[in-house]
Amino acid sequence: MARNIASYRRVVGEESISQLRRLASQLQGRTVVHVNSTRYGGGVAEILEWLTSLMNDLGLQADWEVMEGTPPFFQATKKIHNGLQGFRVDFTASDIQAYDAAAEVNASRLRDKLSGANFVFIHDPQPAALLGSCPARRGKWIWRCHIDASRPHRPVWRWLEPVVSKYDASVFSMPQFARALPHPQFIIAPSIDPLSDKNRFLPESEVEDVARRFRLDPGRPILTQISRFDRFKDPVGVIRAFQMLRVSPRPQLALAGGGAADDPEGAAVLEEVRAGAEGDPDIHILDLPPDSHRAINALQRASHVIIQKSTREGFGLTVTEGMWKSKPVIGGDAGGIRLQVHDFHTGFLVNSPEGAALRIRYLLQHPRLSARMGASAHAFVRDNFLLTRHLREYLTLMLSLERGGTDRMDLP
């Protein structure tokens, strides 16, 4: 879907749009190619769809290419991906062979376009070896690592480090996720699209319809955690917290997620969650299909409190999404949740089911304060975590690289 920067004016204001146009005026006609490994599904594909579209709308010539590969290539990249996140994987010579072969096949298809571009953004490790297959590079090559690479499995990093070290720069989502590399490492936090189905304004009637569809009583408080059924998201801990609540009227808990069907670990966690919730009619386990964006949006809007009680987390965009809907968030004291949740301002950070139960009680007891925290959370996201800020930082990064990375650039 083609996007248009002007449509964001009513969300972020005229001056923010004008600021983007001023920055982009310095980069008119520059060719930018983004490469990743999938066109559909996943956060990176979502980002590239709007990023490419908005860069074009601002006068750059942006394109998005996707790696093509064989099953052995994708098996290898899955191992690399998991290994970068710190999981022990059996990364073998045949994985390296499959990875290099795919890089060569894709390079022969994309070489001219990549070599001629002013900027090439390589997203995540899957396409990283393309750089080595394009020796006559004209522009700047940037490795954009979307995952937490702070504690990688050593054999995987030992192999990947020389590959990504050759880039002109790298980008990580948070300083905590960065690896030491011999080039500038920039920090660009993720963002949400306020006009997407997942985040756009919904009429009250649609919010109520969705709540009814999920058998939630609009007359009682709704607590919601949206996330994959994954142990690090601690859904069982959320149920324990809920079961500690002795408040009236009794709230309802919605645990909504997906991904269990194609993930054996996820299926096991979903079973544990179902077992934990058994016999409690106020706990609603919702295993949703991946395209349930509007339903999730409505569910968040129907909620009184959003929970994200992760024990380990990347940036935590579900927290950002909940805050955008003006809800206070009770979040696990982990990863990017710490950046977003500030006690008594936008929600509460917690470290245990007991802590979560205590803060839920507090918020239910103080509805006016809860509403103020929700408003503060919304303003915080508007100022910091919308895609317009994300785009602005990409443009500033390109200007910085083009001008030699000085601390200060005075633009004409």
């Binding site: 001056e15 920055l23 982990a334 303003a379 200007l399 601390d407």
Partner: protein
């Protein structure tokens, strides 16, 4: 009266790693504060307002925030929090103030205080692009509308960075206002009462708007 209009500028930031290892205890923080670049120190004291972070008026710089949140050392957080980058003669003076406080705290401790995993201090700095927004303020009475329209980044550039750049002269708005008659003088005097340390950019804008409104209403009452 200065006939030159005020040119409203804005800026954008891209944060990058400083290239130093993160600090997981007080000794490492002290060592790295002594080695980091001036722009890194400036970033953690002043530019931090432009980063995607929560406007937390409790902490006036990243070191104080880390001392409180990660190290759990309220004494150190208070000592670091009171440092004023705007009144320090230079970044190097500020560096020596930070180093002295960290050294003193280390001497007071019977062990080197450390943080839990995941709560290290990360040294960052930034590249900033500055550009003219095309917005002009032709006379002091227009400042209210301009403040309401301009981005938070413009407020940062002219009021926060402006104060750091100009030191005693004050911020960019005030420097211009002072050469623009009695109303300009009164607005500048009102702006001089703002202690930047206790504002995020949104609340700073609200405060400047309120101050401007008060001065303009006062002028309107007097002229009736």
């Amino acid at each position: 009266m200065n006939a030159t209009p005020f040119h409203v500028r804005s800026c954008t930031l891209i944060v990058r790693m400083e290239g130093l290892p993160s600090a997981i205890n007080l000794r490492e923080l002290r060592d790295r504060v002594e080695r980091c670049s001036p722009s890194c120190l400036y970033h953690h004291f002043v530019e931090r307002l432009l980063r995607p972070t929560f406007d937390d008026p409790e902490f006036t710089n990243d070191f104080a925030a880390w001392a409180y949140r990660a190290l759990g050392d309220t004494v150190l957080a208070e000592r670091l929090g009171v440092l004023d980058p705007f009144s320090a003669d230079s970044i190097e003076v500020l560096r020596s103030q930070v180093s002295e406080i960290l050294e003193e705290r280390l001497a007071e401790a019977d062990h080197v205080p450390s943080v839990d995993p995941g709560k290290a201090f990360y040294f960052t700095c930034a590249s900033m692009a500055v550009f003219d927004t095309g917005m002009r303020i032709n006379e002091p009475s227009e400042i209210l509308g301009a403040l309401q329209r301009m981005t938070r980044a413009s407020i940062y550039f002219h009021f926060v960075e402006g104060r750091f750049r100009r030191k005693e002269e004050g911020d960019d708005f005030s420097a211009w206002l002072r050469s623009n008659g009695e109303l300009g003088e009164r607005l500048a005097a009102s702006f001089s009462g703002v202690d930047v340390a206790f504002f995020g950019l949104r609340s700073l804008r609200d405060d400047l708007v309120q101050r401007s409104q008060r001065v303009l209403e006062d002028k309107a009452e007097r002229s009736q």
